[in-house]
């Protein structure tokens, strides 16, 4: 038996919105510690790793590990029916073929109940082990979203170049070029506005703009985004949840000699 109650429906709504354009369906793995998801897009370029820890929930119990295959489009439709401030409870029996979703209005005496048919999803998992990181950038998530959107106007790829004291976002396209430079900054009054860059090795990586557009759908989940980059390796883009995270692993683009 799984039962999880969110203080506000908006959290799950945001999570699902951030994922649904990248993968159409995924398995929610529920354990006593919380709910986790790993999903990869069709072409295996972008991987989503979600962890909603137990503490994120108002109330949570999961007696036995269960896997719930969910169509994210359908889930998004149902969650869209609830108000953002509603209590949201999801529950499922151990061998369930549906997921129950209940909204409780905090003011009115109104309870809406839905159930969503589950799917059998047979997807391969990728083994994302611990990764070395050459450079880590933390910046306000809204700023990162704007950079991605602005640079996408110019080209299908965004180049990220990190040096000791700055991060350069660069885009070269047919109509012209664009550069955005950010530098570390500490804002004591508004810590969420701070930018930090830590670096072991300089970085020069290119990513596909259309995948970055999928990633920045998670912007509303967290005020900050942490970007971990390693030479010739996938970039990690992490949005923290109150307790847990939503991470994206994005394979870089390569210049092939032939």
């Amino acid at each position: 038996m799984l039962e999880g109650k969110f203080e506000e429906a908006s959290l799950l709504k945001k999570i699902v919105e951030a994922m649904k354009d990248c993968v159409s369906s995924c398995n929610f793995n529920c354990t006593e510690n919380g709910i986790s998801v790993q999903a990869v897009d069709n072409s295996r370029v972008l991987l989503i790793s979600l962890l909603i820890e137990k503490d994120t929930f108002e109330e949570y119990r999961c007696d036995r590990n269960i896997t719930l295959g969910v169509g994210l489009g359908s889930l998004s439709k149902i969650i869209g029916n609830g108000a953002n401030s509603d209590y949201l409870t999801i529950s499922a029996d151990d061998d369930a073929d549906k997921l129950n979703i209940i909204f409780e209005d905090k003011v009115k005496d109104k309870i809406s109940e839905y159930n969503l048919k589950l799917l059998d999803i047979d997807a391969d998992l990728l083994d994302v082990g611990p990764m070395d990181t050459d450079a880590t950038i933390t910046l306000p998530s809204a700023d990162f979203a704007k950079i991605c959107k602005d640079m996408k106007v110019l080209s299908e790829s965004l180049q990220i170049i990190v040096t000791k004291d700055s991060a350069l976002f660069q885009s070269v396209g047919d109509i012209g070029t664009g550069n955005i430079v950010i530098r570390p900054k500490t804002d004591i009054d508004h810590p969420e506005e701070s930018v930090t860059i830590s670096l072991d090795k300089p970085i020069d990586l290119s990513f596909g703009s259309k995948y970055l557009s999928d990633i920045i759908k998670a912007t509303s989940l967290s005020q900050k985004v942490t970007i971990k980059l390693t030479d010739q390796s996938p970039g990690v883009f992490e949005y923290k949840l109150p307790s847990g995270y939503l991470r994206f692993y994005l394979a870089p683009k390569f210049d092939e000699s032939n």
Partner: protein, 373 residues
């Protein structure tokens, strides 16, 4: 062409071996394409509205050039790197099959002439398509076009499918693209179907995973080849009265054609008749050790298109529109320059989903599966 009933058989036993995807999901992949099959395909399918083949002012057919040009550009536009493989001399054993095809063509030609008097336009077109054959000249024209486009091609010593599979096996390309299921017999890690079909048909590209096919059928390559021979390949006849279901059962039961033959001969009640002088052993040999150029000796290089020469060849000699050829050339050039999108499976190991989690698997499988559009 192909192997009768194999598709259905694999579908039944290893449905997971098939994966349908839009062509764009294959970006960055190098693919070896059976060019001789494409030539046929284009000559048959690339037509004007009245069903006539495309032709230049001299009346020379240009359907194949149209097909090679546009469908290659479409693949390249999605970031796929195609290389083409042309048939060499047919294996001796294929003689019988080729003779049959020639007869069929002659038959079709006759019918077409009959039809000219009585039939409808559609009928005439149908039989006209059946009389299509590829000339040596058309082969050379296609090669010349590819060369100008900067797309590599390989002249196979023998069967093109075998060479495609060799390139894929040797890691030169990701997969072999052919409509012929017998490409699987040459042990290509992946077989792609519908790679060169018309865009308008909106057919997804089907990727067939060799390892999963074998896993599902619970066979090794030799048994699989024997199964294909029983089903009916290009090289020899089959046992009368043995269809896909029986063939599968027989191979499963006996393990090889020798044993199947023995079992049938030792069973006086059997209605199945073994063909006389049945060269199944030679056919098997052709699948197991096809005549190919080793992948390590094939250099595949994707080059810039030679735009001026391309315009000269396609526009001046074959009457294509200059604007379109130049557009195509610029697309070829552009995709050569843009970096290739990497894939995560290059960095992370694919773990198979642990099976024990799937308790009550049977009941689970009845759940609705989401169909992707």
């Amino acid at each position: 062409m192909g192997i009768k009933g194999l598709n259905a058989l694999i579908n039944e036993h290893s449905p997971k071996a098939f994966r349908n995807g839009e062509m764009k999901t294959f970006f960055g992949r190098k693919v070896a394409i059976d060019a001789s099959m494409c030539l046929y395909q284009f000559l048959i399918a690339v037509r004007q509205q009245d069903g006539q083949q495309l032709a230049n002012e001299e009346g020379e057919t240009t359907s194949h050039l149209m097909g090679f040009f546009y469908r290659t550009i479409r693949m390249v536009g999605y970031g796929i790197k195609p290389c083409y493989v042309f048939d060499g001399k047919p294996p001796v054993l294929k003689g019988g099959e080729l003779e049959k095809r020639l007869k069929r063509r002659e038959e079709a030609e006759k019918q077409r002439l009959d039809m000219k008097e009585t039939g409808t336009l559609a009928d005439i077109a149908k039989f006209e398509r059946r009389t299509v054959r590829v000339t040596r000249e058309q082969n050379d024209q296609a090669k010349k076009l590819l060369e100008l486009m900067g797309i590599p091609y390989v002249d196979a010593p023998c069967e093109a499918e075998a060479q495609c599979a060799e390139l894929a096996k040797g890691g030169k390309v990701y997969a072999a693209a052919s409509e012929d299921m017998d490409t699987l017999c040459y042990e290509t890690p992946y077989l792609l179907r519908h790679m060169t079909t018309a865009e308008a048909r909106k057919l997804p590209v089907t990727e067939i995973d060799y390892a999963k096919v074998m896993e599902g059928l619970e066979m090794e390559l030799p048994q699989f080849i024997d199964l294909c021979i029983l089903l009916g390949c290009d090289y020899c006849e089959t046992i009368k009265g043995v269809g896909p279901v029986t063939a599968f059962k027989l191979i499963k039961e006996h393990g090889s054609i020798e044993k199947v033959v023995e079992a049938i001969e030792n069973n006086p009640k059997s209605k199945q008749k073994i063909p006389e002088n049945w060269p199944y052993n030679e056919a098997r040999e052709l699948f197991l050790h096809p005549e190919v150029i080793p992948a390590s000796e094939c250099e595949l290089e994707w080059k810039e298109p030679d735009e001026e020469a391309l315009v000269d060849y396609m526009v001046r000699q074959h009457g294509f529109s200059e604007q379109r050829i130049r557009d195509g050339a610029s697309k070829l050039r552009k995709s050569l320059k843009t970096g290739t999108q990497g894939r995560l499976d290059k960095f992370f190991v694919v773990k198979k989903r642990p099976a024990e989690e799937k308790k009550g698997k049977n009941t689970k499988e009845e759940k609705p599966k989401k169909k992707r559009k």
